[in-house]
Amino acid sequence: MPTEEERETRRKFTGRYGEARGPVVEQVERAVIGGDWGASGYTTVEQADHLGRVLQLGPGRRLLDVGAGRGWPGLYLAVRTGCDVVLTDVPLPGLRLAMRRAAIEAAADRASAVASSARALPLRAGSFDAVVHTDVLC
């Protein structure tokens, strides 16, 4: 059962992930974190690349990104390293944008999205080589 704080967070991010993203938003994001993957948090491209290295991501490896938002950094890591990725989050608008970006990046066959709370992920035990999340566990 989600807490009131979790419900409020869900409402907030559902609205934010679904809002218009004009060129100015991408310009700001590129200036701050170095990429335009729909990020609004604190993980830079350099830090995402570090995650890819410590998780030894590459073709044939399977990554789970919990709380993936619009696909940052899980989808980026799949595009960058060639790994497969499953993106999970509660707000649907972000996951829709992520899958649209996966198609643009020719990575749709290696990316999938699951709308689910991290509390009860409907995924098979022992099926991932790596799990990543950024500022979800606070």
Binding site: V24, V25, V28, L64, R119, F128, A130, H133
Partner: protein
């Protein structure tokens, strides 16, 4: 969530994540302020390393990335201010101001030593089985 991550990993698989948390050793009053000013739910009372070990991970490595957290937080505010007019046109003045205020409060908490950001890397034991 850490236990769920462990379950979903194959034996020998790794998790790596960034997390924002109260600075260890704060007294209860400052801890409450960290909780109030931090993002979403800066709630855990236990160190990240302990949480990971209790969830069954081994080879836990923790790296403090607070300096970069502070730099990026300041950059969001400065870049937002630089493009304020265009952002207001896109998102509305109230929304732009709300987000700016959230970032300013968090940045102040970092500058005051109340919040930190860490990178945690840990491994599911190779002999753990699927659960």
């Amino acid at each position: 969530m850490l236990r769920a991550s462990r379950s979903l990993l194959r034996p020998g698989g790794r998790t790596a994540f960034f997390t924002i948390h109260p600075t260890p050793g704060l007294d209860p009053r400052l801890r409450r302020r960290a909780h109030h000013d931090g993002p979403v739910a800066v709630a855990s009372h236990l160190p990240n390393r302990v949480l990971l070990e209790r969830a069954g991970f081994v080879d836990v490595e923790e790296t403090d990335v607070t300096a970069e957290f502070e730099r990026v937080g300041r950059a969001w505010i400065e870049e937002g201010d630089r493009h304020r007019d265009a952002l207001v046109e896109l998102l509305g003045a109230d929304e732009v101001e709300t987000r700016r205020q959230e970032r300013c409060v968090q940045l102040q908490a970092v500058e005051d030593g109340l919040l930190q950001r860490s990178l945690l890397v840990a491994t599911k034991p190779i002999d753990a089985g699927l659960r």
